[in-house]
Amino acid sequence: MHEMSLCEGIRTVIEDQARGHDIKAVRRVRVEIGRFSGVEKSALEFAFDVVMRGSVAEGATLEMIDMPGRAMCYDCMHEVEIDDRLAPCPDCGGGKLMPVAGDELRIKDLEVI
């Protein structure tokens, strides 16, 4: 998708935080990445290193926390966990699934000094 742009967003948030706090350096950035967020994790990791250069987060570790994909099955009306957007319902085998979670793209916390 646009991993470089997402890293620009991460950098903006970090720089805003750095202005309000006494932050010398960011050591670790933890982000939550939903299964259906469309993020290519290796591309995000690559872009992160490049985009953080020259910021307080230069050299920081990017830790990605996988968030499961969840969907409402319109056949059995159960909320189920699915790995793939086109997977059938694990409970009833139905094919009408509406994603309800798994699009997360969130910065959870920063480890700073």
Binding site: I10, P99, V112
Partner: protein, 283 residues
Amino acid sequence: MCTVCGCGDAKLEGHDHGHSHTPTYDHAYRHVHGRGHGHHHHDMHFGIGPAGVEVPGMSQERLIEIETGIMAKNDRYAEANRAILAGLGAFAVNLVSSPGSGKTTLLCKTIEALGDQPLAVIEGDQQTANDADRIRATGAPAIQVNTGKGCHLDGHMVGHAMEHLKLAQNSFLFIENVGNLVCPAGFDLGEDCKVATLSVTEGEDKPLKYPDMFTASRLALLNKVDLAPYCDVDLDLYEANLRRVNPGIEVIRVSARTGEGMDSWLNWLTGSLSRKTARTAAE
């Protein structure tokens, strides 16, 4: 830098950017103050994290809880746009599709059919003002946003364009996004809903190949249905695949060329606008 993504130097046609584009929390919060939030998390939790986060031997390290969406900057601009639209009782449609689905032609025909109804158009493309020129030829006010290398419109670009358009009360705002079935799905512009145009020449499995866009859309316009007999396609299969990725999606079969289905689409639009206007009046 104008785009959230930083992947291009967007410019409004005829608009010289002479000021800083670095948004600040102050700027954005002024606009969204007092508005209910959608499903996105805007809350900022400043301060030290929960107990036990200090690492032995590295006592000066600390954890700052953020809990902020990576798209937070875009989302603040989108919420500001949404607040302006709500105040006007205006209904904004984010028109998304792959390139060549017939969005602009469909939009021109829609504008002609809506007659005296107040409306305005934001046209997003990487280059050229061709589409805005086509819209203006119908008599409707339009502004072109060229995204440069950017692959989508974002909340900030649309906010600027809205300032230039001077939207009327109870009007339509049509935002024709960059032809792209991937990135625009992830960028809230402050619109009431996304409407995806899918033309019958694209193949029945398009919704399965690009599910996110069709999941994010409230309505799909199955366009160029007059060509269906020449394309060996199954229109029911198009609809089944749309509902497979979004069981709640509404589907209208249209042909901008012959006018087939246009009444249903126009009724859908005017009904949506009436509900929005009534909601604004009630508040």
